[in-house]
């Protein structure tokens, strides 16, 4: 019977721990999902043009993607670049992933999470 009073406390502690872990874990899994989408040849295929940490056989058409958070603190800017970079630069080679429906809004958001981890 002595175990009973301790159990709610344990549950509480576990719950609190879980809550503390949950936020970064969610961000981490979104970034991991974003990385998968970014590297997938049938999806972002970003390595065609960009050097990205963790990716093989990168192209050289675009700049290396690093220190992204410092350069673009506002994630909306990144979403806009992925949605349609021709708005910023009509001559760009970067495909309009959102406008041409190569990626969904959700996929773009996951990739932006990944970019912010670089």
């Amino acid at each position: 019977m002595t175990a009973f009073p301790r159990k709610p406390a344990l549950v509480f502690i576990l719950a609190a721990l879980a809550a503390m872990a949950a936020a970064p874990a969610r961000a981490q899994s979104a970034a991991a999902e974003g990385q998968k989408l970014a590297f997938d040849r049938g999806k972002g295929n970003c390595l065609t043009c960009h050097v990205i940490k963790g990716g093989d056989l990168p192209g050289t058409i675009g700049p290396e993607l690093k220190d992204i958070k410092a350069k673009y603190p506002d994630r909306n800017e990144l979403v806009a670049i992925l949605f349609d970079e021709t708005r910023r630069n009509p001559q760009t080679m970067m495909p309009p992933f959102g406008r041409n429906r190569i990626l969904t809004e959700q996929e773009i958001n996951a990739i932006v999470d990944f970019l912010q981890s670089l």
Partner: protein, 287 residues
């Protein structure tokens, strides 16, 4: 007119400006000075790559990358297109069932004439490529046409290119408004963005030659037809001009056109014309 201006504005404007095609949609109504345009096109590449010898532009990616060039030159000792050359030579010499040969269909018996293709045929009012002329020769002699993408067609054009190596590209635009329109149409096709990826031919071959797209080094548009047909390790075999154009289209998730469609004929005409004065280097070998 409206639509055409939109295409021009929407397509690689910077590239156009760099090539000094000043307001082409305005000039298009008047007669275009194609010779001046070709000169500007060449100068754009000569200035962008001052260290590349002019005659080297015909070697595709190898003109852009010293390491690749060295590997290629070593490979040329045992060229992977040799089997195609041998096959092409033999096919060329073998009579059709009616006793005639390919030589009967072409000027100079088909030897050393690659630099004159494609040409504008004033009777038909259209551009005729070497591949098209070969199949027409076959059909005129009661033979079935070959596939436009590889094998026999690649062997025949490989042999014809080989007998023309070093000859300078010499494409004419006759004084015929339809010829000028074919050239213009080819140019328009070249600079127009298309497909889900929104690339034009110029995105890759004018804006980014020498850059890597994944592992491949992009060839410059100048002299880009001179080395065809090519052996590609990635194809494990030979490919024709048609095959290369279809591959470029499908790799960018655009829909490839029918072989020898007007657009392909015209873009080959445009790209060959602006390469006038550069040597034939085909057949080529590519990684």
């Amino acid at each position: 007119m409206e639509a055409r201006s939109a295409i021009w504005l929407g397509s690689a404007l910077a590239a156009l400006a760099a090539l000094a095609f000043t307001a082409p949609h305005v000039i298009a109504a008047d007669k275009i000075d194609t010779a001046t345009e070709a000169k500007a096109f060449q100068n754009f590449f000569f200035q962008k790559f001052p260290n590349v010898k002019h005659e080297d532009f015909v070697n595709g990616p190898y003109s852009m990358n010293e390491d690749m060039k060295r590997q290629w030159q070593e490979k040329e000792e045992f060229p992977p297109y040799e089997f195609a050359l041998d096959a092409g030579k033999e096919m060329f010499a073998t009579p059709f069932k009616n006793g005639k040969t390919y030589a009967d269909c072409f000027p100079n018996g088909g030897i050393g004439i690659r630099q004159n293709y494609p040409y504008f045929d004033e009777k038909e009012g259209k551009v005729v490529t070497l591949e098209l002329a070969l199949n027409r020769c076959r059909e005129a002699n009661g033979e079935a046409p070959y596939s436009y993408v590889k094998d026999e067609m690649a062997s025949l054009t490989a042999y014809m290119a080989f007998t023309s190596r070093g000859k300078l590209m010499d494409i004419k635009i006759p004084d015929d408004p339809r010829a000028l329109e074919a050239y213009e149409n080819g140019k328009r096709y070249f600079y127009t963005r298309r497909g889900q990826m929104n690339f034009s031919c110029a995105s890759c071959h004018v804006q980014s030659p020498g850059e890597r797209i994944r592992a491949e080094v992009l060839a410059p548009a100048l002299g880009i037809m001179n080395a065809l047909p090519i052996y590609r390790s990635e194809w494990s075999g030979m490919g024709t001009t048609t095959r290369r154009l279809m591959t470029c289209n499908s790799q960018t998730r655009a829909v490839p056109l029918e072989p020898q469609s007007d657009e392909y004929r015209d873009v080959e005409y445009f790209l060959s014309y602006v390469a006038n004065g550069l040597p034939i280097s085909g057949p080529g070998a590519r990684p």
